[in-house]
Symmetry: C2
């Protein structure tokens, strides 16, 4: 039982720090999004496209979480947003402490949107609050339609989901209806966008959603 206790103590401590981060975000009026998925679902490509589409209108920054390497950070920086890279050094998720320690790198009050790209993992990131306004997840069609029932916490915690790689649907057995039904059963308010970050299909709906969330943060000040 000892290991469980240690892990859970970390979790409780994390929640307190996450609420502290949240108070910073509220005070500075920046909308913060925690982007999560399994490995290779397309988070970074979605992020690149999102930065390209919205950086003319909003002040955007990105925190890149990776177990190792800075390849994703380099791609996002090339798309035009300032990036902080956090290497977790083996850990399977970001935690509130890592976000907290990097908060003062950006002038938060000069940002409209801060996107945190979490480590590619469908389990652990869902359990660690970072203080974000919304968790958003990416499921890709190539991963299979059984994922909501296998990873219910992630689907329950997310505010929105991008179903990515819809351009590959003709070549797959992916049961879109089942995947979306199971996801919505776990999460009555899940907003779902069917997209291909590669072709750009469906991305306009996702951008419009982000703009609404940024406007909500502004309206709540």
């Amino acid at each position: 039982m000892h290991q469980i206790d240690v892990g859970s103590s970390i979790l409780a401590h994390n929640d307190a720090l996450a609420m502290h981060n949240r108070e910073h975000f509220i005070e500075e009026g920046v909308y913060v999004l925690n982007l999560m998925s399994g490995p290779g679902a397309g988070k970074t490509t979605i992020l690149e496209q999102t930065v390209r589409a919205l950086s003319g209108k909003y002040r955007i920054a990105v925190i890149e979480g990776d177990v190792q390497t800075s390849q994703d950070a380099d791609r996002v920086a090339a798309a035009g947003a300032p990036v902080i890279q956090i290497n977790t050094g083996g850990a399977c998720h970001l935690d509130a402490r890592q976000i907290h320690d990097n908060l003062h790198t950006f002038a938060l009050d000069a940002l409209d949107l801060l996107i945190i790209e979490n480590v590619g993992n469908l389990v652990c990131p869902a359990e660690f609050d970072l203080g974000e306004h919304d968790k958003v997840m990416v499921l890709s069609t190539t991963e299979g339609a059984d994922k909501p029932s296998k990873y219910p916490v992630m689907f329950h915690e997310a505010r929105a989901m991008l179903l990515n790689k819809i351009d590959l649907l003709p070549y797959l057995d992916f049961d879109t209806e089942k995947a979306l039904r199971d996801a919505r059963a776990l999460n009555l308010d899940l907003d779902i966008f069917q997209v291909s970050a590669r072709t750009g299909a469906g991305m306009e709906g996702w951008y419009a959603w982000l703009e609404q969330r940024i406007a909500k943060v502004r309206a709540s000040r």
Copy 2:
């Protein structure tokens, strides 16, 4: 540190059981609501009125959590819903285990709506997932407008909030605008209903919201 470890281990274990409860609720197609507030905010009166208003149209049951006594359960039963009473024996919140152990008392698949009235407490209940679809909180005008900043977790976790006892506003210094603004800053999607359960003012909006949630559960099956 030992006490923190024990408490947190309970929390992690609770989350796993809560997800198990959630799977039951999804399978049986019953919408489940976890009703929370500080002591005396009016949960039971809201519950009595809600049962009276909706029991002609929906099959409703109630789980009553109380530190001691069954007074609330008696009131709700008199309003016309089957009730299970859970006495926590001193504990300041319900947990997923207590809900799980009572699930088979009701025929879940014969219910449309299961309301769990939590122990009156603005802190602990917010941290214990019971497997509900939605946490709903009650704030009463007599408690003061500083509550969102003092109890951010509760306001962050709730899907909807009833601001109760609005009939007393003329006799109080309650700053409604500040309370609602601070609550919405913590929770971009918080649906808020300004009501008086005693006079019935504003309750129609709350009932309509409940009906929408029940319909969403049905649609997701």
